[in-house]
Each structure stands twice: as C-alpha cells, then as structure tokens.
Symmetry: C2
Subunit: 114 residues, 2 copies
C-alpha cells in the first residue's frame, strides 16, 4: 500500500479502459481496508474511517477535498458525526482506473497522518 | 420557511417523542425543496444542493458542519463535485423532531447566503 500511495495519477480521458476484474483483484490485494462495491453497475472503492470527534471528521473531509482538487479527481465523501466514508471511482470511464487505487492509498495515508 | 429558520432548537433527549405523521406533513409544507425519506425505518429530511464549483461544495459543507457543531446536532453530509446532499434526523429518537425542520430551514438559508 505504501508503494501505491507514492505513485502519481496519470491523465485519464474518456477513451481509457476501466481495469479488468483480474487487475482489480490484484490491486485490491495491495489496498488494506478498502472494499469493492458495485453501485448502479459501476465498480467503486469504498472505505469508512472512524474518528472520535466531529472536528476530526471535518478536518479529514477537508484534507481529502484538498487531495481531490490537487489531482482533479473527486470522490464521494460522506461526513457523519464520528466517521467519514470515502468512495473513489472514475466518472469518465464509469469504473475503476489505476488512479482510484493510488488515491485510495493516499487517502489511507492522510488518515494515518491526521 | 423564513419563520422556521429563525427558531432555535430545543433540548431533545431520549424520552422525546418523534413527530407524528400529521405533524410531519404540516411542517414539511413549510419547508421548500426538502423531501421526506425513510431509511432503515427511520424518517429523515433530505435535500441535494447543486453548486457550480467544487470549492463552493466544500465551503457549504463547512458551513453546515459549523451549524452542526453550534447546535450539537449533526446531519449526514454527502459531498460531491457539484452537489452537497444534507440529511437531517434525530439519532436519539430514531426519527424526526421539530429541531430537524428548524435545521433544514437554516441549511436552506445558509445555501442562499453563500
């Protein structure tokens, strides 16, 4: 996971192919704590992070929002009292790209360093 | 709606009763743009607010988080690229309290004044 979190996202355009099931299985193996979900036929990566206080949830939300802006790739963020759920997928290809795994790994790193 | 948004929340404890269906109908009538949803048997108020830019979505999320902290009542906030969805309910009574309608109205006011 550490290695994945150090990678940079590649440019991803409409023509790019989503990862295959085998590629997803292989990358998911490197990504601790994340689950593969299928939402409206779109494969996505989801993880819920638990906090002790609301201000920690808000700070983590803002940290992920900054990561999203810096990479121009925006996850769904569900902010609740003592948890933040992050869901990554690549809208333009309606599925998962390597970038989503890189950003999921970066998300976990940001949570650890909070 | 304006009147509702000017009210203050009352203290709400475990023993408080959720609003009845008639009370909900009556208060929902005063609350433009919000829908009643039932999620895991719990009645909640939901509204999606659309923005043009991500930084507006993030700023609105933080405004609602501040409202939540100031009233010690925390909604679910779903932050996406060009929308923020807010869901209010009262956890301790597993349903809707008058406070949820007041905070929904305040949420709409905050969006307008952004």
């Amino acid at each position: 996971m550490t290695t994945l979190s150090k990678l940079s996202c590649e440019a991803c355009s409409t023509g790019a192919q989503p990862l295959t099931n085998d590629e997803i299985d292989s990358m998911l193996f490197k990504l601790s704590g994340w689950e593969l979900i299928i939402d409206s036929d779109i494969k996505k990566l989801k993880r819920q992070f638990h906090t002790e206080k609301y201000h920690q949830s808000v700070a983590f939300t803002n940290a992920i929002a900054s990561l999203a802006e810096s990479t121009n790739h925006h996850p769904q963020i569900i902010l609740e009292y003592s948890s933040v759920t992050i869901i990554w997928w690549t809208h333009v290809i309606h599925g998962l790209h390597k970038n989503d795994f890189i950003l999921a790994a970066k998300t976990s790193e940001l949570f650890k360093s909070d």
